[in-house]
């Protein structure tokens, strides 16, 4: 197991270099110049431009710029934002808890509904319930996320007035950012109503962000369950006189979890990508919105550093998923 983990960690290295190279070149391939953006509408003189270009190293050849960046990254220096002048590292960890909180809630939402939906559909294969659930899942999967978000905002915030439109908590409440997780901090602050407010703010973004993973998990659970239910060991369990509930929920589900865990792992990548849209729509102060803003500002270090950190997160999640296979099905542990 240790050897396997180490060999998997080694594969991180090429991925890491690849992500660095891609994020570095893509942001530079975009038209627009960060110095011009920084100067704003007034513009700036050629001398001042040259001075700033030297300061940020833009006068160097592109491969030298990449080399400087890469050596910096390897020493733990992701650079400093052009706009806020704060280290990328600090900014990331200030904003990341907001994204993490939203992603965890979205994932819980997706798993809590998707898994039972998939099982119910598989057990009722071909019947009305199966078709209804799977068509709903298909709609959820195909729906553009921004449109879905706006629809929910119009109905629940606009027409019904049940939920707020944006942000993480009402302006009425103020308390220090102890953990960065609003649900925990609001309880810790002891202010009455703060937690409820945080939950109500979380509701719509969670649903929006969780919809696609929910649909994917439901469909994957269904197909994995159908495959497993045809296996010989399910017949053995039935021959033992086990109840359908126990066969589906214990004997079959454990085996069906392998492909489901895989899509859950892959969904984490989609989730972070989806967070960019969701956070922008709901003005959620997380890394998604931060990345979008930085792209518009041509804030090179932030875009590069942010993409890199997101990529590392996804890699860690995928490694965890691979480790989980062995826990669920011991046969996989033996390669």
């Amino acid at each position: 197991m240790l050897k396997y983990t180490l060999s998997r960690l080694l594969t991180f290295i090429p991925t890491f270099i690849g992500v660095t190279l891609i994020s570095f070149s893509f942001i530079r391939a975009l038209p627009g110049d960060p110095i011009v953006v920084m100067a704003g509408e007034r513009g700036l003189s050629d001398e001042r431009y040259a001075e700033l270009a030297t300061q940020y190293g833009f006068d160097q050849p592109i491969y030298m710029q990449f080399w400087d960046y890469l050596t910096g990254v390897l020493q733990g220096d992701l650079g400093t934002s052009f706009v806020t002048k704060r280290p990328v590292w600090d900014e990331f960890f200030t904003l990341f808890p907001a994204t993490l909180e939203l992603s965890i809630c979205a994932m819980i939402f997706a798993i809590a509904l998707g898994l039972p939906a998939g099982i119910i559909a598989a057990v009722n294969r071909g019947k009305f319930l199966d078709r209804a659930l799977m068509s709903t899942a298909l709609v959820g999967y195909s729906m553009p996320i921004f449109w879905w978000a706006l629809l929910l905002i119009i109905v629940f915030s606009g027409n019904l007035g049940w939920t707020p439109v944006s942000g993480r908590i009402d302006l009425l409440y103020y308390f220090p950012n102890a953990t960065g997780f609003m649900l925990i901090d609001s309880v810790a602050s002891g202010q009455s109503g703060a937690f409820t407010s945080a939950v109500r703010h979380l509701l719509l973004p969670t649903i929006v962000l969780g919809t696609i993973p929910l649909a994917v998990i439901a469909r994957q659970t269904r197909s994995a369950m159908l495959e497993v239910l045809g296996e010989d060991y399910i017949r053995t369990a039935r021959a033992k006189g086990m109840s359908p509930g126990r066969i589906n929920g214990v004997h079959a589900l454990r085996n069906a979890m392998i492909p489901v865990i895989t899509v859950i792992g892959l969904s984490v990548g989609t989730l972070l990508a989806g967070a960019i849209l969701t956070e922008t729509i709901f003005s959620w102060p997380g890394i998604g919105k931060w990345m979008v803003d930085s792209i518009f500002r041509r804030d090179y270090p932030v875009v590069q550093g942010g993409l890199l950190l997101i990529a590392v997160m996804v890699m860690i999640v995928n490694l965890t998923v691979d480790m989980l296979y062995g826990v669920i099905n011991p046969k996989i542990r033996k390669r």
């Binding site: 296996e231 010989d232 060991y233 017949r235 053995t236 369990a237 039935r238 021959a239 033992k240 006189g241 086990m242 109840s243 004997h251 454990r254 085996n255 669920i328 099905n329 011991p330 046969k331 033996k334």
Partner: protein, 325 residues
């Protein structure tokens, strides 16, 4: 006393091209402590009839029968909950592929103890003690250690022993073994058959052995039922069946045994078992039978009496007038 009594059992599968009759009006009786072998080629419906008794057929199967009763209880019209209290407890079954019949995600100990927990309501300690005892009974060495093994860590023969241990865990009255040795190599086959026979002697349970291997039949069975294309074509005690087969199909099967071959070429039965679309109007074996005449091809023969092994044949072999002619 009759333990399992089947009368006129028919199983049809709904397929895209119409109903397929896998089992055709089969009668069967199995007594307490008896070893019955059901033999036949692949596709003769021998497994399907037993799976129907166990209630393990998929929903596409349509089961009709005049009677299916086990230990005096009507299995046919029993509600599923009551049936599950019998299945796996008094009526157990083991299967052909031990490797795929055990759940790869759970230890073999867990899988054995599950039945003990649900059927006998034993506590954790009693379950463990019983599981160790069962492993010793089926000849698995080092039971304490083996209980925590996963199926992929054991060999095929060991897994079949685990399956047997699991099936006999609740001391069943009848064990149905569906080709228990087909997937195993020859030396292990003999061990598993010895084990099943000795378990019968120890516990007094009935044993149904489904097989296509006449060698297995000769070695283990007491009574033999021969199935062909879903029908029971003959049934006799094992020695009589081997000595004086009445149905031409049984005779042809026995002729095809390598041990009985006299010529350089092993005799075979020409043709294949009729399928869904080429089912004959008369005797199902008539297209392959060397004795068949126009009557055989037109009218299905009813089963004969006990003295002629219930053979479904107009011209049974090894009878007085047959020998005379």
């Amino acid at each position: 006393m009759t333990l399992l009594r089947i009368r006129n059992l028919t199983v049809e599968f709904a397929t895209a091209s119409g109903a397929f009759r896998a089992v055709d009006s089969v009668d069967q009786d199995i007594g307490n402590g008896e070893i019955l072998a059901i033999v036949g080629e692949s596709g003769s419906g021998k497994s399907v009839s037993m799976l129907a008794v166990m209630g393990l057929l998929p929903w596409t199967a349509k089961i009709t029968a005049d009677e299916v009763s086990f230990d005096g209880q009507d299995l046919l019209n029993m509600d599923p909950r009551a049936r599950r209290r019998i299945i796996g407890k008094d009526l157990a079954m083991i299967f052909q592929e031990p490797m795929s019949s055990l759940n790869p995600c759970f230890t073999v100990g867990w899988q054995i103890k599950e039945a003990l927990r649900f059927h006998l309501k034993m506590d954790r300690k009693a379950r463990h003690a019983r599981a160790v005892e069962l492993f010793e009974q089926v000849g698995i060495p080092d039971p304490e250690k083996r209980l925590s093994a996963f199926p992929h860590q054991l060999s095929g023969g060991m897994n079949q022993r685990v399956m047997i241990a699991m099936a006999i865990a609740c001391k069943p009255k009848l064990l149905i073994a569906d080709e228990p040795t087909t997937a195993l190599d020859v030396t292990i086959q003999a061990q598993i058959l010895d084990l099943l026979a000795s378990l019968r002697d120890e516990t007094g349970m009935g044993l149904v052995l489904i097989t296509h291997d006449m060698g297995v039949v000769a070695e283990t069975a007491e009574r033999v039922s021969v199935q062909y294309a879903g029908q029971k074509v003959e049934e006799q005690p094992v020695a009589d069946l081997f000595n004086t087969p009445h149905h031409p199909y049984t005779a042809a099967l026995l002729d095809a045994l390598p041990e009985r071959a006299t010529a350089r070429l092993l005799p075979t039965i020409p043709g294949v078992v009729p399928g869904q679309f080429d089912r004959p109007a008369g005797c199902l074996f008539s297209p392959r039978c060397k004795f068949a005449d126009a009557k055989c091809k037109a009218t299905p023969p009813p089963p004969l009496g006990t003295d002629l092994g219930h053979a479904r044949c107009f011209y049974p072999l090894n009878t007085a007038d047959r020998i005379a002619s």
